[in-house]
Symmetry: C2
Subunit: 547 residues, 2 copies
């Protein structure tokens, strides 16, 4: 792994670009400042993909990214395997002039990162900045128009700049052409010092001076004639444009890496990566669109081939159990299963994955939930999954497996999984970026009602009763009835069986219940319309009459 | 200074309480996660106190506190001076169960804190939590009802708890009464481990076991008879209530210090402290009320005597200039002025302020913008200001000055400043917590118009033109006219003088302009109503007809 800091970004950028360019695929992972910004955006088994996108967008728009991990998998020329070039970027939103991001931090997410020794100081002091297109435009307009230095929008220490200018003013009145004043950067004010801002300000306020930094990084102010000033200004204009370009590039930071990814459109691999994709879009590209299908279309245009190892591993359950006797879709567990001796020997010529030279830190040291480490695990799992699916159950290409299998051949095998992204706790278990989402494979909803008339359901009690049977979400319909979404069929079945003849509650399938209610709903229909009462009240009446 | 961390809070709390109890007054300071949450909430010279409160409330509600500094000034028994007991608290919002604060961080504020070497890791890993009354109620309800452990609301690592319970389940089926299973806390999972949650869960799932922690901090699970289980449960109920109380107290954290401050109602001293007071109210007491006067009334009930050294120092300008030849209301500068030899010898028996034993860190080391350090500077300034104002210009009590001056006598002198809080860049320069705010002392607004018909005002250009004359805010009224609020009379006067006969713009006083417009407004009045056009359009027409 190679840690990319604000201070080393510029020097490392060319090698990052080269690694992406040479890679067969790039695995990514992101650490966020939070998951949800309020309770209403929590995932639920009742969510359709559109609803989930709306919820995630509500959160992602206000949250930010703390860390980005990128592992470029490059074919190893000396073996049939891969070399991973893994970069870990601590990130922090750019802050300069009008671009001053406000983002939400969720207390529990901070706590979560603490469990894995996350370094918050590294983000604050050495985080690489980033901008999306809208922020970049704002910044460029501001730099180009000079608004940043008009006194309207800048956020530097005004009193410090004022004191520097007073010093210059005192000298200015009694100085003659050719004389120079040196503004010394002292230890005490080094942190308030900004060469660019000070020079711009001094030049603006004093018509007959010129400024430059000397070899000690101090600023020299020289008295010049108005003619000389014009000449220098003209000459400096070209330099200034270069400097402004440098400033823009440094604030663009990680977005430049995103743009390399976009340019080469290498297959992207992630694990349970829906939120990662939303962050990628919102923070480094453009604000997330309101419409879910627009998002899917635009994302597909950006990255035409995306693979989610969480989604893929669900489909490999039987194969993995057959090989290793165990199964999990948790990233670390999945890595361990695929890295196991039994998995390695199960199929011939399993490709070797090594850390490229200079990227060995993760060789000796685990770092779960460090974005770079998770990206590496995910890429590693992807290589092994590709090979297992290509060669395990077929005699196809057995000859090819003896030498390095071309990556395109792997991708052909992975075609059924391309652009299918895992979605947790929703009506469907994955979305399809390049087409219509699949239909729901969840069991139909259950209805829970109180057996006794007038008795009220305690939603918390109900959740406690149901949760031992698996993942469920409960939504109160009326004080006496609730809708239950179960995560899978065996859970729904177990609930139906367990509560058959229960003393307090009656559990029915939603369809069956709806059917039996049709007549009554028709009867009550008149009241619904004429009374203009809310749906809740009507359902409440229905329920009471039924119990 | 004494740093109070999450791990040392419980041990230090009694001494903090004692220091507050013994203090004559307590100086405070706060570091925030941001200042404004969006551009619309930025302060402006157009703001009335109600408008400013609304803006600040919009921001403070969503922001959080990173650090709180508290310096308790206790009369030194051996001298006529004071001993400062200064505590610095890194803070972090509590995160447990349903209490999971989401707060906004402003990128430029992080950058600001970086300039002063702020330790973000200390906040994340060792920050003291806090809760306001609403959050405390939510937490207590949740702990008392057991909802936290019903599987509905908890945010612990479910798969970890699941794996612990599987281990217990495997042992449970084949174990007999009296047998014990030890759950070892390993290094790898130590961070996922939560004794309270695990024990609650195991006891809930297995009817015939009992759990306890052993001397190695592992959890022992013992098979018991149902009768023994009932006995142990009854006995544990008392213990559990104690444990829950401990949990609540630890999550309440810094709020307990706030409650001590509230209980003793010692005079509170701060520097430019309006935002500090809003944070104090919102984060440790109750969500800020929508109504400004309700806020003032409630705050006054909480802390009947509050002093703002920024507001006070503005009023002492002449005195300080006479004594030291210099003046500033910046906290560090003000401290230096008041700490100077000239200030010390200007008045007899100036009280000495020392760091109490064990609190000496700031003696040898400056730490600007560390909340504890700023609180100390502020308290120090307050003591000297009290003495200067009491004894400098009067022969009154000259005898008393020879010995320790009772604090009440200082407070009597400070009465005119009590509960007057500085307000920056607004129509007034301070608010009054215990009464009606003072009338505005700012100059009247100016109107700027284009001289040429059809010419548009460039607001940025205008701000650039005006800013050399002092602090101004500009609000575009129409494309051809703008309202200008100047920070003081000399600035307004200078602008009027400088732009007299300006080629492009015409500057007039607002009142004068209004007067000259009255006839025209009456003429145009019909259009206003019948056309139903918006105010902007009407003003625009007025302006065009005038230019």
């Amino acid at each position: 792994m190679c840690e990319v800091l604000r201070s080393s970004f510029e020097a490392l950028f060319p090698s990052i670009e080269k690694a992406i360019k040479q890679a067969d695929f790039v695995a990514i992972d992101t650490e966020f400042t939070g998951l949800v910004t309020d309770g209403q955006n929590r995932p639920s088994l009742f969510d359709t993909s559109e609803e989930r996108y709306r919820k995630l967008r509500n959160s992602v728009t206000h949250l930010s990214v703390r860390q980005f991990g990128l592992s470029a998998f490059i074919k190893d020329k000396n073996s049939s395997g891969y070399e991973a070039h893994t970069y870990n970027f601590p990130l922090i939103p750019a802050s300069f002039g009008p671009v001053d991001s406000c983002y939400i931090v969720q207390a529990s997410s901070t706590e979560f990162l603490c469990r894995f020794n996350f370094d918050f100081n590294k983000c604050a002091y050495e985080g690489v900045p980033f901008l999306n297109d809208v922020q970049e435009r704002l910044l460029c307009q501001s730099i180009d128009s000079g608004a940043l230095f008009s006194g309207l929008e800048r956020q530097f220490d005004e009193s410090f700049i004022q004191s520097v200018c007073s010093t210059v003013a005192q000298w200015y009145v009694s100085s003659t052409v050719g004389q120079t004043l040196t503004l010394h950067k002292t230890h005490a004010d080094a942190k308030l010092w900004n060469d660019f801002v000070i020079q711009t300000e001094v030049r603006k306020r004093f018509p007959e001076v010129w400024t430059m930094t000397d070899s000690f990084q101090n600023i020299a102010v020289m008295k010049v004639t108005p003619e000389r000033r014009s000449e220098l200004e003209e000459k400096a204009k070209v330099d200034r444009e270069e400097e402004q370009e440098k400033l823009k590039q440094s604030l663009l930071g990680f977005t430049r890496v995103f743009r390399v990814l976009r340019e080469y459109q290498k297959p992207l691999v992630g694990h349970n990566m829906l939120m990662d994709l939303l962050f990628l879009y919102d923070k480094f590209f453009q604000p997330l669109p309101a419409d879910y299908n627009t998002f899917k279309r635009n994302l597909h245009d950006l990255f035409p081939r995306i693979y989610d190892t969480k989604h893929i591993s669900f489909s490999m359950r039987k194969m993995l159990e057959a090989i290793t006797g165990t199964f999990s879709t948790n990233l670390v567990q999945l890595y361990r299963i695929l890295d196991s001796e039994r998995a390695t020997i199960s199929t011939r010529f399993m490709p070797k994955v090594t850390h490229a030279k200079g990227f060995e830190r993760y060789k000796s040291q685990d770092a779960p939930h460090e974005a770079g480490f998770d990206a590496f695990l995910c890429g590693y799992a992807f290589v092994r999954i590709c090979h297992l699916l290509r060669f395990r159950d077929s005699t196809l290409d057995r000859g090819r497996a003896s030498s390095a299998c071309p990556f395109n051949m792997y991708l052909a095998t992975m075609a059924p999984f391309c652009n299918r992204i895992n979605i947790i706790r929703a009506t469907i278990n994955h979305i399809k970026l390049d087409g219509k989402d699949p239909p729901s494979l969840r069991p139909e909803k259950l209805i829970v009602r109180c057996r006794k008339r007038g008795r009220r359901l305690n939603i918390q009690q109900l959740a406690e009763w149901l949760s031992p049977y698996g993942t469920v979400d409960v939504r109160l319909l009326t004080p006496q009835s609730a809708l239950v979404a179960a995560g899978n069929f065996s859970c729904a079945k177990a609930i139906m069986a367990a509560f058959k003849g229960h003393q307090h509650i009656l559990v029915t399938k939603y369809r069956f219940w709806k059917h039996s209610q049709t007549a009554k709903i028709i009867l009550w229909g008149g009241l619904l319309v004429s009374g203009g009462v809310c749906a809740w009240a009507v359902l409440s009446i229905l329920k009471n009459s039924d119990s």
